[in-house]
């Protein structure tokens, strides 16, 4: 019975934790601009994420080592700095875009102007980390995250043509605006294959004291959880397509996405969207700040846990505080959140190899994972998708910067 509870909880937390500002914004923009045509990017990103999340849980369960700590030990100190610095800076940038999403949600609900919300949102997240424990945060943020199921309800009320939607799951060349098409595809993959999720998930597995018996359970929760999560992103894309395309609206600014549910649920739709966006972003902020703290603390061997009082894990708490302050500072600058979001997702795709290649090597090292090493399937699937995301990013980011 305990295993069943653990599985359902695992699935629930991954559904709630899946959608955040990146997946919301990129899926909505893809739907509005290219209809179902970019569904394949979500499918690829989710498949890759399923393998990666399963691997990070397995690593933690078998080696009792979270991802960041294992990377430092396996590749040694100087090499380890590269993923450390890259993922920390990327974490602050993605956190800033989550803060942008949260601020927009608060502005939609209250109608009060937007840059003022950024420091307040960061302070609220910091307060929850300062006082809360890991289980409160992981379970709470994800249970509230279930509000994002409102997009699934919206999809069924719109009665999409499922066969045409399925056709979108097969990669196809763009009929117009090729640069924009590939840039959004890269942003979608960067949004779904979020490296911070791996550090958070593996540290959580260690905090929850997983062991080898949890490996099969982890395989089920990772697969089903991320599958439902991916389905949510697809729901957002389908709703955006069916609402914005017939009205001739393309998403240029974040607040254009807000009335996405109003044609289906009227005023309820407006506030449900704002609540879903705000809660999803707030949950993601907690996860990102914690994952940067896990990365740094495990890397340098400090004491790290969210279940102790901040004074007992001083440097760990200092790192997540600094991450939140960094995100808030970028948020205050008030650069258009959609721009930060898309670029930070595209940069995530470009930096994926730095985070994923060492992780793949770790998962093939019997010294760490014993007989639970990777099969050739997970190795090839992850390598192929990460390589695709990287090539697309390296091609489309310069073009996008040149274009805008």
């Amino acid at each position: 019975m305990k295993k069943l509870l653990e599985i359902t909880l695992g699935i629930v937390t991954s559904i709630g934790g899946f959608l955040e500002v990146g997946s919301l914004a990129t899926s909505a923009q893809a739907g509005a601009a290219f209809g179902y045509q970019l569904l394949w990017a979500i499918v690829l990103g989710t498949v890759c994420l399923i393998f990666l999340v399963e691997m990070s849980g397995r690593l933690a369960a078998v080696s009792k080592q979270p991802l960041a700590g294992a990377m430092r030990e396996r590749f040694g100190y100087p090499f380890f700095l590269i993923p450390l610095v890259a993922m920390s800076l990327l974490g602050v940038l993605v956190l800033a875009s989550e803060l942008g999403g949260l601020s927009l949600a608060l502005q939609l609900v209250t109608g009060i102007s937007f840059p003022w919300w950024a420091p307040l949102g960061a302070f609220a997240a910091w307060l929850l980390l300062w006082k809360g424990t890991f289980s409160v945060i992981e379970k709470g943020a994800s249970l509230f995250g279930l509000i994002t199921l409102v997009f699934v309800v919206a999809v069924f009320r719109l009665h999409p043509d499922w066969t045409r939607a399925a056709a979108g799951a097969l990669p196809s060349m763009p009929r117009h605006e090729p640069m924009r098409y590939w840039f959004i595809a890269v942003s979608i993959m960067g949004a779904s294959i979020a490296p911070y999720l791996l550090y958070f998930y593996s540290a959580g597995a260690v905090e929850d004291k997983w062991n080898e018996t949890d490996v099969p359970v982890n395989r089920v929760t990772a697969t089903l959880g991320m599958l439902f999560g991916g389905a949510l992103s697809i729901a957002v894309l389908v709703v955006a397509a069916l609402v914005f395309v017939p009205r001739g609206i393309r998403i240029e600014r974040f607040d254009q996405i807000a009335p996405m549910l109003t044609p289906i649920m009227s005023r309820w739709g407006f506030f449900l969207f704002a609540a879903a966006l705000g809660i999803a972003c707030f949950g993601a902020m907690l996860e990102i700040a914690l994952s940067v703290a896990y990365l740094v603390a495990q890397g340098f061997g400090w004491k790290w846990t969210e279940d102790a009082r901040p004074r007992d894990v001083a440097r760990f708490s200092l790192v997540y505080t600094a991450t939140l302050i960094g995100g808030a500072l970028i948020g205050i600058v008030g650069v258009d959140p959609l721009a930060i979001t898309l670029m930070s997702m595209a940069l995530t795709s470009a930096l994926l190899p730095i985070a994923i290649v060492p992780f793949l090597i770790l998962m093939n090292d019997p010294h760490f994972v014993g007989k639970h090493g990777n099969g050739w399937i997970s190795n090839t699937v992850v390598c192929a998708i990460v390589a695709l995301a990287f090539v697309l990013a390296v091609v489309s980011i310069p073009l996008e910067l040149m274009g805008s």
């Binding site: 080696s63 009792k64 080592q65 700590g69 430092r72 030990e73 040694g76 100190y77 100087p78 380890f80 700095l81 300062w130 006082k131 340098f300 061997g301 400090w302 004491k303 790290w304 009082r309 901040p310 004074r311 007992d312 001083a314 440097r315 708490s317 200092l318 010294h367």
Partner: protein
């Protein structure tokens, strides 16, 4: 018992008697003399040791940062190999972590920054 010094010791997690983290093995000191087998004498911890392991251009930056952060200045902290209780996934050292200098920076950050914030 055979030991691969780099794979089994370098960058490993150090813990004290109670299993509380002390830091990682940032450096390993070997006593070398021409006519006797060299012996591994102690582990080194600290930003200064880490700085020396960086390629030349970055060394200055991290050493400066390390000097700023660790109040005791730049001399690295050393733990004698003779105090090892257990070698394994982590290296357990026979010392009391709360008073050891290895956690001096942790204590400094706690007392000067974290403890001052309410609710910590």
């Amino acid at each position: 018992m055979d030991i691969d010094v780099i794979r089994d010791l370098l960058d490993k997690q150090l813990v004290d008697r109670e299993g509380e983290p002390l830091g990682r093995v940032d450096g390993i000191v070997m006593a070398y003399s021409a006519d006797a087998p060299p012996r591994i004498t102690c582990f080194e911890l600290g930003a200064q040791t880490l700085a020396r392991r960086l390629p030349r251009p970055f060394q200055g930056a991290l050493a400066w940062l390390g000097h700023r952060l660790s109040p005791r200045g730049s001399s690295p902290y050393r733990l004698e190999v003779s105090r090892i209780i257990q070698l394994g996934r982590t290296i357990k050292i026979d010392i009391d972590g709360t008073r050891s200098a290895a956690r001096e920076t942790e204590r400094w950050v706690r007392d000067h920054i974290v403890a001052r914030i309410p609710g910590s």
